[in-house]
Amino acid sequence: MSWSPETVARAERIMQRYPERRSAVMPLLYLSMLEDGYLTDDGMREVAEWTGLTPVQVKSVASFYGMFKLRYTGKYLVSVCTSISCMLRGADDVMAAVEDEAGVPHGETDDDGVIAVEHVECIGACGGAPAVQVNYELIEGITPEQARDLVRWLREEQPDKIVADDLQERFGGTRSFDWAIRETEGAVGPFPAFGPYGTVAEEDRS
């Protein structure tokens, strides 16, 4: 159940950022998801060791938050916002299209383990509604048809890295505000792509 040396080194750096080790729980949970693809019992035990908590205390924290997945949620987690602003702009149709194309309802992962679907509450893209995230990389102004294309593309291409700006260009419409430049950093699994947690693609880690 042990972590790779790289993850251990990262965990040590993270621990140093906090005055008390318990504070590192959430970052370490992300590390653990990076290691295993989702939060396993062993992963939570490991985090418990690092932070001086009991495993059930770690689970209590992890299960409070929607993004710590205690079950396998595919290679690509497609999250469709269906909160009020997106709903007003047709999010329910987008959700239906995604579920139909992926062949699984909210909260489930397809049989191949490639795509998981969920509807989520507001993801802060209301100006570009309706919005969808793939592994938390954002696409705004998406139509039901584009959403189907997105799911098909994910299944066929199975890219190693998910980059918001790429997805936006392929499948998106109007955004909440301009991005101005194109970024290339991206996600490698169903967790937020963030350098200090090591959860960005290899080539993006600094």
Binding site: D41, L53, T54, P55, V56, Q57, K59, S60, S63, F64
Partner: protein, 802 residues
């Protein structure tokens, strides 16, 4: 004492300590405020929102929970306004929408706060037409406790208890919002020594005890208050029984002792009472076995055989063991029986596993349990309290956790309090005197801890760290503590009423009421009451066992004593009882010891008789009867009286209360203490004074050996009460040899391998487990585990790969 403030609750002015939660202040003063999450022994969290009240503020009335509102001068609170009523009705409705209506089959039905408050404050009928939340039916959270998540109202009392009080955060709320529920981690159950408390404080039937589940309906229960029969802390308990069966113990919130808590051993260790293996008729030896007899025959036989021994060898050829498992009244009768009827001072309630009797009975300055609440530093040099004195463990833990008291732990290995200790020192058993010397001088690592002890108030909790420890080490530690500028001593020992028995004179050097043989006037007073009293101290347990084994002594009286299982050198005890000319045992069960007797007399046990216990502070509390003893059982005092009569020396008792009456008349520390005085002070009981013993420092040699043995008790073991409590018995750790990994490597063994431990009095082959908390060169073996031969009390041992 904090400042007193005046607050007004529903127009009534009351005076309370500043900072008291308003809910407690109101309830204590007769205004009930309904609540679920609030528990006065847990930190307030204000979750359930049932206790809302209106508080007058400069900006008008504010609705606020009263559990999180600290009382402050001039507060004006209203508990029964329309706004409050509406809010409380609302909370109840919210709690009920997802609560299953299975009250008829729920253990809690009939004593359920949710049920009661629904009657008192709730809406008439449900307006909830949606589907209720569903969870899989009851899941075990430990061997002893089951959880029904549908009934749970998420008050978090269990979670808070586990973390705040027990220090075992193994049960938690998981998920969020409407999906939130209580959970344990896979393969990591809530196996806390204190798990049963959560069943008691759960305000609904979500947590239930396997030992009690479905056994009774609350309205069928009869209840009586009593004192825990397992620990020396004197926990106040309520015994529930139905149809002459004891079904449950609950803790009572006695501030001085257990504050409502019990260890699981105390809570669930009631099953022995109703065990099918209880003795119900007298037994007399018949070849290798026993035959049943009448009381008359058995008593005549005992009187005749004891009389013959006394006639031929003198009273001092008779040894008396026990007294610690019964009431003070039983112990007094035993003590008087040995002195006045038999004419022997060979009597001991300690099973060769406790510090000096004077230290336990009469040390001064003696601390109370409550002194732990104000101590600035606590010195713990004695048993692992988590294993041997559960509620005391909780009290020390609380002193550190809540109040920031400093804690110094000195012990041969890890203890349950290490995670809270400010300083922890580990040493090899057998090197205690040297360690104490270094500690006292403040050398090296000891410097800071030593300094803390000079700043009072200090409470020193003193006892034996293990059974291979020289018992006089405890005296030396107590002497050190007594020499500190501002310290009191709290002596600890095992077995429910050890302190009471010693107070009653079940000790070779003490007469009832803590009278020493050195006190000529007091001894003379006993001559008057008892007739003749031998004028010198007798033998202690190991002395008596040796005497029996080598023929110096000829007969033994066992009163609730099982030396074969309880003393460190069980083999010696067996030899002693086998060698004796005559042995009579008063017991609840045929134990390893009583089965070696010539006559076994069936005794009434706990919950079947009335009397008093005395705890480790010297606090006397009542023990009460709620069921009849099985078959022909009799209380110890009465059996002893019957024998005495047949020996022509009646003691003059015709009820337990007449025994108590005599204690109040002749035993100095208990002078004028009547049952009614004790009852009146319920649930705390009466704290006695009467300490006269200032420990003096005996210096002892340290043991020098390659390997030494740490032999110590665990909460669950193979003692008779545990063996007869089916819910608990399987929780004992069993035979294990714990070794430091370094030693294991040296011996060429690893975890799971077998080693032979050769002790001073026996050897055992045991599986190895690693314990990095041990100093090098120490093997730790839990004492009294099923199937493990006794090793003896010598510290030096040999360990080799099997």
């Amino acid at each position: 004492m904090a400042d007193l403030v005046k607050i007004t609750v529903d127009g009534k002015e009351i005076e309370v300590e500043a900072g008291t939660p308003v809910i407690d202040a109101a309830i204590d003063n007769g205004t009930y405020i309904p609540h679920f999450c609030h528990h006065s022994r847990l930190e307030p969290v204000g979750l359930c929102r049932m206790c809302l009240v209106e508080l007058e503020t400069p900006r008008g009335m504010v609705l606020t929970p009263s559990c999180t509102l600290p009382a402050s001068e001039g507060q004006v609170i209203h508990t029964k306004t329309p706004v409050v009523d509406k809010a409380q009705e609302g909370v109840l409705e919210f709690l009920l929408i997802n609560h299953p209506l299975d009250c008829p089959v729920c253990d809690k039905g009939g004593e359920c706060p949710l049920q009661d408050q629904t009657l008192g404050y709730g809406p008439g009928e449900s307006r909830f037409v949606e589907e209720k939340r569903h969870f899989e039916k009851p899941v075990p959270v430990s061997d002893l406790v089951l959880l029904d998540r549908e009934r749970c109202i998420l008050c978090s009392r269990c979670v808070r208890f586990a973390e705040e009080v027990a220090g075992d955060p193994l049960i938690e709320i998981t998920a969020r919002g409407n999906q939130a529920h209580i959970e344990t981690f896979p393969d990591e159950p809530f196996s806390s020594y204190f798990s049963g408390n959560t069943v008691q404080i759960c305000p609904v039937g979500a947590l239930t005890a396997t030992a009690y589940r479905f056994r009774a309906r609350p309205w069928d229960l009869r209840k009586v208050e009593s004192t825990c029969p397992h620990c020396t802390a004197g926990e106040a308990i309520e015994i529930d029984a139905s149809q002459n069966q004891v079904l449950r113990f609950n803790g009572i919130d006695a501030d001085a002792t257990n504050q409502g808590w019990l260890s699981d051993k105390c809570r669930f260790g009631f099953e022995f009472i109703g065990s099918a293996e209880r003795l119900t008729v007298p037994l007399v030896r018949d070849g290798d076995g026993f035959r049943e007899s009448t009381w008359a025959e058995a008593l005549d036989l005992v009187a005749e055989r004891l009389g013959a021994v006394i006639e031929s060898r003198g009273g001092e050829a008779v040894a008396g063991f026990g007294g610690a498992r019964g009431t003070n009244e039983d112990a007094y009768a035993f003590s008087k029986f040995m002195r006045a009827v038999v004419g022997s001072n060979h009597i001991d309630a300690r099973m060769d596993d406790a510090p000096a009797a004077e230290l336990l009975a009469a040390v001064q300055p003696r601390a109370t349990i409550g002194d732990l609440d104000t101590a600035s530093t606590i010195l713990l040099w004695g048993p692992d309290l988590k294993e041997e004195a559960g509620t005391l463990y909780l009290r020390v833990r609380q002193a550190v956790q809540k109040r920031g008291a400093k804690l110094v732990v000195v012990h041969p290995r890890r203890t349950g309090l290490d995670d809270r200790a400010t300083w922890k020192f580990t040493y090899r058993p057998g090197t205690g005197f040297g360690t104490l010397e270094a500690f006292a001088s403040g050398a090296g690592d000891f410097a800071e801890a030593r300094k803390a002890l000079d700043e009072g108030p200090v409470v020193a909790v003193v006892g034996l760290t293990g059974m291979t420890e020289d018992p006089t080490l405890a005296t030396a530690v107590a002497a050190f503590a007594a020499g500190l500028p501002d310290a009191k001593i709290l002596p600890v020992a095992r077995r429910s009423n050890t302190f009471g028995a010693l107070d009653m004179g079940c000790a070779p050097g003490l007469l009832p009421g803590r009278v020493s043989f050195g006190d000529a006037d007091a001894v003379a007073a006993f001559e008057a009451a008892f007739g003749a009293v031998p004028d010198h101290a007798g033998l202690d347990t190991s002395g008596m066992l040796e005497g029996l084994a080598n023929g110096d002594l000829a007969a033994a009286v066992l009163v609730g004593a099982d030396p074969v299982r309880d003393v460190p050198d069980g083999a010696l005890a067996r030899r002693a009882l086998e060698a004796a000319d005559f042995v009579v045992a008063l017991d609840l069960f045929l134990t390893d010891s009583s089965s070696l007797a010539d006559v076994v007399l069936p005794a009434e046990g706990f919950a079947e008789k009335e009397g008093t216990f005395t705890n480790l502070e010297g606090r006397v509390s009542k023990v009460n009867r709620i069921v009849a003893g099985p078959g022909q059982t009799q209380p110890d005092w009465s059996i002893l009286e019957e024998i005495a009569r047949r020996m022509g020396r009646p003691m003059g008792f015709d009820s337990a209360e007449t025994v108590a009456e005599e204690i109040a008349t002749v035993a100095p520390a208990y002078a004028d203490l009547r049952w009614r005085d004790v009852e009146r002070k319920k649930p705390e009981g009466v704290l006695l004074d009467g300490g006269w013993y200032t420990p003096k420092a005996p210096a002892g040699p340290d043991v020098d050996a390659d390997m030494v043995l740490h032999l110590a008790r665990t909460l669950y073991d193979d003692g008779v009460a545990m063996r007869q409590s089916l819910s608990l018995h399987h929780l004992a750790p069993g035979g294990v040899a714990y070794l430091h990994p370094g030693d294991a490597e040296r011996l060429g063994v690893t975890e799971g391998d077998q080693v032979v431990v050769v002790g001073s009095a026996g050897e055992a082959t045991l599986p190895v487990r690693f314990d990095p908390s041990l100093p090098a060169g120490v093997v730790y073996v839990p004492f009294n585990q099923a199937g493990v031969p006794s090793l003896g009390a010598g510290a030096a041992v040999e360990v080799r790969s099997a």
